[in-house]
């Protein structure tokens, strides 16, 4: 049963991703993207990352994609059904590059035996930790201890983004 659900979610994810790349208009690509992100959230649930699944839906598929949608609507790009996929040499180059990366990743990530460094003890299960502290607690603990600096500088990062976006979107007089 699990593998069937996984198969459906994975096909929607990949199909959505392909839809983004070959979508006819920006709006179509965006909707495919949301489908892909949504089924990714389903995969997160299957990996026991429930909190991230919620965040994925609310923040990623919700807020960020709405920002994209808003810009597409603002610029009125929805009517433009002109295909803008490059042809000829660019396509060859693209398939060369992605084939290279894909081959590299597939040959080196996939086989079970070579997944992890030999010296690393495999099979650390985070399930007991999750059961003990709850899914949010287990993320919050390193976030506010070990990675507190990263957390605080994330605030700086968001502030920079706000300042930058305001500086660019403000119409010059």
């Amino acid at each position: 049963m699990d593998s069937l659900i996984y198969f459906v979610l994975a096909s929607v994810t990949v199909g959505g991703a392909l839809g983004v790349v070959f979508g006819r208009s920006p709006i179509a690509s965006l909707l495919f993207m949301i489908a892909s992100l949504g089924s990714t959230a389903g995969i997160y649930v299957m990996l026991e990352a429930h909190f991230l699944a919620a965040i994925q839906i609310i923040v990623y598929a919700g807020a960020i994609m709405v920002l994209f949608l808003f810009v597409i609507m603002l610029l009125n790009l929805g009517h433009d059904y002109k295909r803008d996929i490059r042809g000829g040499l660019a396509i060859l180059f693209a398939f060369g590059v992605t084939g290279g990366i894909g081959g590299l990743l597939a040959s080196r990530v996939m086989p079970e035996g070579t997944l992890l460094l030999n010296s690393y003890p495999t099979g650390v299960s985070i399930d007991t930790e999750i059961a003990e502290k709850g899914i949010i607690g287990v993320i919050a603990e390193p976030l506010f201890n070990e990675y507190i600096v990263a957390f605080e500088f994330t605030g700086v990062l968001l502030f920079v983004a706000i300042v930058g976006a305001l500086a660019l979107a403000k119409r010059s007089d």
């Binding site: 590299l104 990743l105 040959s107 080196r108 990530v109 070579t114 997944l115 992890l116 460094l117 030999n118 010296s119 690393y120 650390v124 070990e146 990675y147 507190i148 600096v149 990263a150 500088f153 994330t154 700086v156 990062l157 502030f159 920079v160 983004a161 300042v163 930058g164 976006a165 305001l166 500086a167 660019l168 403000k170 119409r171 010059s172 007089d173």
Partner: protein, 491 residues
């Protein structure tokens, strides 16, 4: 001292915290003044941000007693990080001084401009001081996002928008590759913390292919940021289209920050698995040195010329990452310090000749500068010679150190390529100098006569300081080398 007490983090990241405070202060100040027509806003806010950089410098000097005692956790406060802070602060101080007249003349939104410049420096300083790949990534993103916005900030310039878009798309693309590398490294070593990665890779062999893939993707992400040849295609366009002080900042601070981090990650913490990235870097360094210098020969736009020259310098610096012994590490630090000063001084001269705008950027526009503005022309010539590595300038000592480092680790072919490509580079550096001193300006009727250049105090300061530093570093290098040798990671 440990990081259990979170106040220690504020101490350790003091320079970054000070700069962040000043940047927020500048924004608040700009909002509260509310009269955009104020002509001297640039000068005022420029002075405030300069004060911020100086305050950060004072805090940085005050951190030396704590250095090496604050190095657990994910932030390093070693003398290497403090040295890189000096270089980055110097670069951004010069960028601020160059910008003051430029932003006033181009009517760029001054508070945002200076605040983003300071934020970019914060990000770079965070990146060089971090011992965790995730923190490196966040620092890199703070710097990149600030610079994306800065490249686009001139609202009336189509070229600026285009440069910003290109920089943004390729920067975000490289971020994706970088992050996938981080994910694979995390998966294969069990941590994103560099110290733990170092421990996990002690007896790694070439069967840990996931780790190797991750390391190579990480390297590709970095190579995009510093512009190494197969990944350099955005550099000339972005340099050409961005506002000139920002081009200077990009070519200096981003490159310096990225290389300081590059060396920390690859030279020190991934040293155990050099078999995985060594060959890749060898080829990248070779192709970058030769290719960039050859393409630079045919450039007529000075910003594109400097872009290709910067790419070539990335190639030279890759050799130091590859041959990581103490000599080549001091070569890296020395070279980056001198390159920062020389390149920033060069951009100060360019901004002056362009009269704080974006015209007069062709090599031929520099004809006759020597007879009209001997001081500027002399300074520019010295900076060009330093970039080329002429004896008695700082660049010469830097190149000698890199060469010695390469020979100590038996990278003979790369050393030869370095010498050859340096000789090639003299052609385009000296061509610009030749235009300045030997050519008279062509008196064609349709080109307007070049306006009289008056040098503002800020730019006079930049030119004079860089000139003194370059010549001093070239003639009396022992003091700087001595200081650098106390700042090494290996040692």
């Amino acid at each position: 001292m440990s990081f259990l007490n979170q106040w220690n983090y504020f101490l350790a990241l003091g320079p970054q915290a000070i700069l962040t405070t000043f940047a927020i202060g500048i924004l608040l100040f700009g909002v509260s003044r509310n009269n955009t027509s104020d002509e001297h806003q640039g000068w005022l806010l420029g002075r405030i941000s300069l004060a911020g950089v100086i305050a950060a410098g004072i805090v940085n000097a005050g951190l030396y007693p704590f250095a090496d005692r604050l190095s657990d956790g994910i932030v390093a406060v070693d003398r290497y990080a403090l040295f890189s802070n000096w270089v980055l602060l110097l670069g951004s101080a010069m960028a601020i001084l160059i910008s003051i007249s430029y932003v006033e003349k181009q009517r760029i939104q001054v508070p945002e401009y200076f605040a983003l410049l300071l934020f970019a420096t914060v990000g770079l300083m965070l990146m060089t001081a971090s011992l965790d790949l995730m923190l490196v990534f966040i620092g890199l993103e703070i710097a990149s996002i600030s610079v994306y916005a800065l490249a686009t900030i001139d609202q009336r310039s189509p070229k600026g928008s285009e440069a910003g878009l290109k920089y943004f798309l390729l920067g975000a693309f490289s971020t994706g590759i970088f992050l996938y590398g981080v994910a694979l490294i995390y998966g294969s070593t069990g941590s994103a913390n560099l110290t733990e990665i170092l421990n996990a890779t002690v007896d790694a062999d070439d069967t840990g292919v996931m780790l190797i893939t991750g390391v190579i993707m990480l390297a590709v992400g970095f190579c995009f940021k510093v512009g190494v040849v197969p990944f350099h295609m955005w550099t000339p366009d972005v340099y050409q289209g961005s506002p000139m002080p920002i081009t200077g900042y990009m070519s200096v601070a981003i490159k310096a920050g990225a290389f300081f981090t590059f060396y920390r990650i690859f030279g020190i913490y991934l040293d155990n698995i050099q078999f995985s990235w060594g060959t890749v870097f060898w080829w990248l360094a070779l192709v970058t040195m030769i290719g960039a210098n050859l393409v630079a020969l045919v450039q007529n736009n000075i910003k594109r010329l400097l872009a290709y020259s910067g790419i070539a310098h990335s190639g030279y610096l890759l050799i130091t990452v590859l041959a990581n012994n103490t000599t080549s590490e001091s070569g890296l630090l020395y070279y980056l310090a001198v390159y920062t000063v020389a390149n920033m001084g060069l951009f100060a001269g360019f901004v002056l000749v362009a009269n704080h705008a974006e015209h007069r950027v062709e090599v031929s526009d520099y004809a006759g500068l020597g007879s009209k503005q001997p001081f500027i022309a002399m300074a520019l010539t010295v900076f060009l010679l330093s970039l080329g590595g002429f004896p008695a300038t700082g660049g010469f000592i830097g190149k000698i150190l890199i060469l010695r480092g390469a020979l100590e680790d038996n990278y003979l072919l790369l050393a030869i390529a370095l010498v050859i490509s340096t000789l090639i580079s003299y052609w385009y550096y000296l061509r610009l100098a030749w235009f300045m001193w030997m050519k008279e300006q062509a008196a064609t009727p349709n080109t307007e006569k070049a306006p009289e250049i008056e040098i503002p105090l800020a730019l006079k300061l930049v030119l004079a300081v860089s000139l003194v530093l370059i010549v001093y570093a070239g003639i009396f290098p022992s003091q700087l080398i001595g200081f650098i040798e106390t700042s090494l990671l290996k040692g």
